[in-house]
């Protein structure tokens, strides 16, 4: 079932068409990967889809509703969560607290109740903590629960971001280079984790440079170059696409491929 539908999405930065008329659809339980050379517009596409940038053109439909102009903090409510290429961690908080914040939407207390520490707040804290602990275990970071996030290594923080996003109980999970900077063991763990998440019925949209990982876990792959769709399809098909090969052969190849495509 299609959960996220992006139609003709575009944005320009001072004349640069960072994303230029991109369309795709993602279904529940699917791993949909977006690849492309540096500067292709992958992260910008995520920023458009999550409402951080305002689309210059196009439409975003989430679970059947047009969410093109919906503010980022409201998109979570409709089932979209993400991680960031440049870590966006709450560095002063513990790993557990980072994930607890991810549960914010499910927390049913008011500012006033929090101020007075009403019994409902203590009960909520117990629920949130238990859920966060479960998720830390799931990503294999339970032993770091009480460590301040700022003291944790990069590879661990990448997984912490995934746990935090999962705490929001998303239907669509956007991962921006989750394996970047991770060693082989960590990449393996992320690989397994993504597989599990998809099997739980979540639509995973993955930006990743690690081709081995992409080819292994993706159901479909979208290739971007210069903000535009270069190819889309199952991993095998995309890998043998001449335009894609050209794009990965460098700047010159990419231009050739563009001409061939447009």
């Amino acid at each position: 079932m299609t959960i996220l539908q992006v139609e003709d999405l575009g944005i320009t930065f001072g004349g640069l068409r960072a994303v230029d008329g991109v369309s795709f659809q993602v279904s529940l339980g699917e791993v949909f990967s977006i690849i492309g050379p540096n500067g292709a517009g992958k992260t910008t596409l995520f920023n458009l889809v999550t409402g951080i940038y305002r689309a210059g053109r196009g439409r975003i439909v989430l679970a059947g509703e047009d969410v093109t102009r919906v503010a980022p903090h409201l998109l979570v409510r409709r089932g979209m969560a993400r991680t960031f290429q440049n870590l966006q961690i709450f560095f002063r908080m513990t790993a557990l607290e980072n994930v607890m914040v991810g549960n914010h939407l499910a927390e049913r207390t008011s500012f006033l109740a929090d101020l007075l520490s009403l019994p409902s707040v203590a009960r909520q804290n117990v629920r949130t903590r238990a859920r966060a602990m479960e998720l830390l275990e799931r990503v294999g970071l339970a032993h770091h629960a009480d460590t301040t996030a700022g003291d944790l290594p990069y590879g661990v923080l990448k997984r912490l971001e995934i746990a935090r996003a999962l705490a929001a109980d998303p239907k669509v999970l956007l991962l921006d280079e989750p394996a970047a900077g991770c060693n082989a063991v960590e990449t393996e763990a992320i690989d397994r984790l993504i597989g599990q998440i998809a099997r739980d019925g979540v639509a995973v949209v993955l930006i990743e440079h690690d081709m081995k990982l992409v080819m292994k876990i993706s159901d479909r792959v979208l290739v971007l170059a210069h903000g535009r769709r270069l190819a889309e399809g199952p991993p095998r098909q995309v890998r043998s696409d001449p335009a894609v090969i050209a794009a990965y052969l460098g700047e010159h190849g990419a231009r050739e491929a563009d001409r061939a495509h447009g």
Binding site: A81, F84, F90, R92, H104, L105, D114, S117
Partner: protein
């Protein structure tokens, strides 16, 4: 274990209560009690900034403006409007909250330096209004604050105010600690580090910042009311720029985001100038020097630095 004790709500409250209880025993004269009461008052205002700046990371260089509003509420209310002083204090707190809401909505969209300058402007405006509306406020010369009467009991005397301000500080500390360990507190601390990520998990960043701003203004307003009531006299100086800077300095010297730190920072900046008066013309210079030395040696602030030291010793 030690870490758990150091960060427990109860431990912090017991520690503060113990300090408040012990000071009168050690104080050689009522002068010292008065200075201590001033520490509790400024600590209460600083706790507001602990929530706004320490938890949420939003700067205000105009919080003395709220101090001034609270102070003049208990002066103008009874003297000009015939209101009960306690009611005036509550109305002052409400007024601070409303003003913070109105001012915060537009300016909290600003970040960093820009927010600092906008709040600075707010503080200047309050001080200006208090100075120029002399028909109501007595102008630059200030005005008398009527004594508070509670259930027929005339509240006066240094030791009485000592216990009232100490009690107010404890309540303030309890509220600040409550927020810290709650969903709202986590949201505030989260947006401090990354607004994008906080919004990404559903935190309404603008709303949370505004709530913190309003709450911090109420803290400052109540502190201002207590200051005016204890002194029995108030001038627009209460809302002055220097006081705004001092409040910020208190939370930073004591340790940003630390409840005990706000009290330690307030003690630092209220007690030291008194202690240094023996140096006469060098007082300001030495105070300035001490601030610099402390910031260089303990950049994380006094309380967090000591805490870390203690934990490393124990480990």
């Amino acid at each position: 274990m030690l870490k758990r004790v150091l960060s427990s709500r109860l431990a912090v409250l017991v520690l503060l209560a113990a300090i408040i209880a012990v000071v009168p025993v050690l104080a050689p004269s009522s002068f010292y009690l008065r200075v201590a009461a001033l520490v509790w008052i400024f600590a209460l205002a600083a706790l507001g900034l602990t929530i706004l700046t320490g938890y949420a990371g939003q700067v205000s260089l105009g919080h003395a403006g709220f101090l001034g509003i609270g102070a003049y509420a208990v002066a103008v209310g009874p003297a000009k409007l015939g209101l009960d002083p306690l009611l005036s204090l509550l109305l002052g707190a409400v007024l601070c909250g409303l003003v913070a809401y109105a001012v915060g909505r537009p300016i909290l969209r600003l970040k960093g330096y820009y927010l600092a300058i906008a709040t600075l402007g707010f503080g200047l405006i309050v001080a200006l209004v208090l100075t120029s509306e002399s028909a109501v406020t007595g102008g630059p010369d200030g005005m008398q604050v009527p004594r508070m009467v509670l259930f027929g009991w005339r509240v006066s005397g240094v030791s009485t105010w000592y216990w009232i301000t100490g009690g107010a500080l404890l309540v303030g500390a309890l509220l600040a600690l409550n927020i810290q360990a709650s969903p709202s507190g986590r949201a505030l601390r989260a947006l401090h580090d990354s607004e994008v990520a906080a919004a990404g998990v559903g935190v309404d960043v603008a709303k949370k910042k505004l709530a913190a701003f309003v709450l911090s203004a109420v803290f400052a307003g109540v502190a201002g009311s207590l200051l005016a009531l204890m002194n029995g006299f108030i001038t627009p100086d209460a809302a002055g720029f220097m006081h705004s800077i001092e409040l910020v300095a208190m939370v930073i010297i004591g340790g940003l985001g630390s409840v005990v730190g706000a009290v330690v920072g307030a003690a630092f900046l209220v007690v030291l100038p008194q202690a240094l008066t023996v140096l006469q013309e060098y007082e300001q210079a030495v105070l300035g020097l001490l601030i610099m030395v402390f910031m260089i040696l303990l950049p994380a602030g006094i309380v967090p630095s000591l805490r870390r030291l203690l934990l490393e010793r124990a480990a």
